[in-house]
């Protein structure tokens, strides 16, 4: 089959999922992942990690579709003091599961790029 991984031929015609739609689903799953406190823009080249507003969270997701695979890059800000490797691993699993569930197509890679940490040790009284 020569179709791309985000397209499939169905009896009634072709179904195609736009990268932007995949990014929105991924951002949603990141938002519910424990340990992630924000997303940073994927296009930001400079060092400063800016936190995206909830509505713009999809801008922290880069979706690449090649001939055979879907790759998702996530630009995230994590909570300081958590075990980052484990949080990142949980994020990978959540995102892969959510995207595959929603679009019914396999995701080859989910890369978590930690852009910053937020320390929030405010003590409540």
């Amino acid at each position: 089959m020569s179709e791309q991984p985000n397209q499939r031929l169905m009896p009634m015609g072709k179904i195609e999922v736009a990268p932007r739609a995949i990014a929105t689903i991924a951002a949603q799953a990141v938002g519910q992942s424990y340990g992630v406190v924000g997303m940073a823009p994927s296009s930001l080249a400079q060092g400063v990690a800016m936190v995206l507003r909830q509505a713009d969270a999809h801008k922290g997701v880069a979706v690449r579709i090649s001939d055979t695979t879907i790759t998702i890059d996530l630009y995230v800000i994590l909570e300081y003091g958590t075990r980052l490797a484990e949080v990142a691993r949980n994020v990978q699993e959540n995102v892969r599961y959510a995207v595959e569930q929603a679009i019914g197509m396999p995701v080859a890679q989910v890369n978590v790029r930690i852009q910053g940490l937020r320390s929030n040790d405010a003590v409540v009284k």
Binding site: Q32, S33, R83, E86, Y97, G104, V124
Partner: protein, 548 residues
């Protein structure tokens, strides 16, 4: 058992407040209590999202948090050390949340030598706040809800005269009640008929602490052995050789970075964590003596454990071959079936299906779940029975990704899957079996009876929420306020005069006696058919009827 019981005077002391040593003992007790129940907590894990196993993850996180902490008279110091190790050793999503809970707990106890009821309530409140900080969109009906409601219950009980035990009791009751409410907040839990696994784990931790305070027994032994086996398979691959060397180095003002880099250079798979007072080392070396000699120059060594990995792997390998999960293949063609409901799962297992993937209407298994089930089978040729129209696509996707020869027989209902399996020929090959199953599926009719969750117009029919609806082979054919009217109409359309056997699979929310009454009713109206009653245990659908 009597060994675990404190004398009456100690119990009285424990009721009013704890010092650091007692706090640590309470957390160790909680860890033991949790590890004893880890399997039961794992069983609650309904999310198809692979979070490993919640019970195992939380238990290993907590035991990892307390095992290397040395007793100290100050609660603040003990809480700080427990927090440190919990952060270093947090496993899985639930383990990370638990480490944040302990982090908040330590923040509140900082600088306090003793903890009374008032301080416990404050610490739980801070634990809840810290846990909520680390997520953008907290999902209610999870561990987060349970820690928040636990802290609220503790605060309500923490008057000026309240003892530590009184506040802890209130916290345990609050936690247990909160766990019971989780299905009301999270549909996925309600559909599966379970409570939240992470929340249950938290409740067990508080129960363990209360048991310590009251001097009640904590019988465990086996669980601890099990967790070491898990840890071994986790960190050791098939290529490791030599001696796995573990020890704890204690000293004063240890040059941690130097020690870490020099030790790491001496072997493989080094995991070295710690600070200036305490360093925990795990490393694979050919000559364990060299590592120990190097370290002992800096301080005292404790918990030294050296294992020959070649022998250990052999022993582990022997164990796993005895595990019941490795089902002996009964045919050259393997069968993977998707099923929801305890009855259906048991039914497929009893028919020697090689793998049952749980899932169905409300929680579809992912392509990956199905692919893993296919790849795990010893056979090279596999047939998949999705047993739900929503899962057919994922099954086809899994088939195309698999390295094996896979055929999907697109069964849309559970009874279709059952007859497909029954037509399986143990001597025949892949194509022949797939064709025979497909043919068998075409010969039965399935009726499903459920309740409409919202107003809708489906297939030209007006349906209002709360009405009973009936589907015949996936198509809505009947909707009415009375369940009996729907069943009558379905039976009529199933053309029972031309059928021989009718099977009534009754769901999770139906009693056997009700199902038997329905069976009698069918028998009375259609005396020529044979009626069978089976426990399906399926969620959402009160009854699934099949006619063949």
């Amino acid at each position: 058992m009597s060994k675990d019981r404190h004398s009456a005077s100690t119990t009285d002391q424990l009721a009013n407040g704890w010092d650091g040593t007692q706090l640590l003992a309470a957390l160790v007790a909680a860890s033991r209590w949790l590890s004893q129940h880890a399997e039961a907590v794992n069983a609650l894990n309904v999310f198809p999202v692979p979070d490993g196993d919640t019970g195992t993850n939380m238990s290993l996180t907590l035991s990892g948090a307390v095992q290397d902490v040395t007793p100290d008279p100050s609660c603040g110091t003990v809480a700080e050390r427990v927090k440190y190790w919990a952060t270093m050793r947090g496993r899985g999503n639930s383990g990370i949340i638990l480490s944040q809970v302990l982090r908040g707990f330590a923040q509140a106890l900082a600088g306090h030598d003793r903890m009374d009821g008032q301080l416990l309530a404050e610490a739980l409140t801070q634990a809840s706040a810290t846990a909520y900080q680390a997520v953008m969109k907290p999902v209610e009906g999870t561990m987060l809800t349970v820690i928040r409601e636990t802290s609220e219950a503790a605060r309500a009980a923490a008057g000026p005269d309240a003892s530590l035990v009184a506040v802890l009791e209130a916290a345990v009751h609050g936690a247990q009640a909160s766990v019971q409410r989780t299905p009301e907040l999270l549909t996925m839990l309600r559909d599966a008929g379970v409570v939240d696994s992470g929340g249950q784990g938290l409740a067990l931790i508080f129960e363990g602490m209360l048991r310590y305070a009251r001097g009640e027994s904590l019988e465990v032994e086996q669980a601890a052995e099990q967790s070491t086996a898990i840890a071994f398979t986790d960190i050791h691959g098939p290529d490791d050789f030599g001696y796995c060397t573990n020890f704890v180095l204690q000293g004063k003002q240890l040059p941690f970075d130097t020690i870490r880099s020099e030790l790491a250079a001496m072997g493989q798979s080094a995991v070295i964590v710690g600070d200036a007072d305490l360093i925990k080392v795990h490393i694979h070396v050919l000559r364990p003596g060299d590592v120990l000699n190097y370290a002992v120059d800096f301080g005292a060594l404790t918990n030294i454990e050296i294992t020959n990995m070649d022998l250990q792997r052999e022993a582990l390998h022997e164990q796993t071959t005895h595990e019941p999960e490795v089902v002996q293949p009964v045919a050259d063609v393997g069968v993977v079936a998707v099923a929801s409901g305890a009855g259906f799962v048991a039914l497929f297992r009893s028919m020697n299906v090689d793998a049952v993937v749980t899932g169905g209407q409300s929680m579809n298994p992912s392509t990956e779940d199905l692919l893993q089930a296919i790849e795990r089978l010893p056979q090279q040729e596999v047939i998949v029975l999705p047993n739900n129209s929503n899962i057919v696509m994922a099954a086809r996707q899994a088939a195309s990704l698999s390295s094996k020869q896979v055929r999907v027989v697109p069964t849309k209902t559970l009874p279709q899957g059952v007859v497909a399996r029954l037509s399986f020929n143990y001597q025949a090959g892949l194509e022949e079996n797939a064709a025979a199953m497909q043919e068998a599926v075409g010969q039965i009719r399935t009726a499903e009876i459920t309740t409409a969750v919202r107003d809708a117009t489906v297939d030209g029919r007006q349906v209002s929420a709360g009405q009973t609806i009936g589907l015949l082979d996936g198509v809505l054919v009947s909707a009415a306020d009375q369940q009996t009217a729907v069943i009558e109409e379905l039976l009529e359309q199933m053309e029972l005069d031309t059928r021989e056997i009718v099977t009534v699979y009754y769901g999770q929310s139906v009693e056997l006696s009700q199902a038997e009454a329905l069976a009698e009713h069918i028998q009375a109206h259609y005396p020529d058919v044979e009626v069978e009653v089976q426990h399906g245990g399926q969620p959402l659908y009160d009854y699934i009827l099949s006619a063949e």
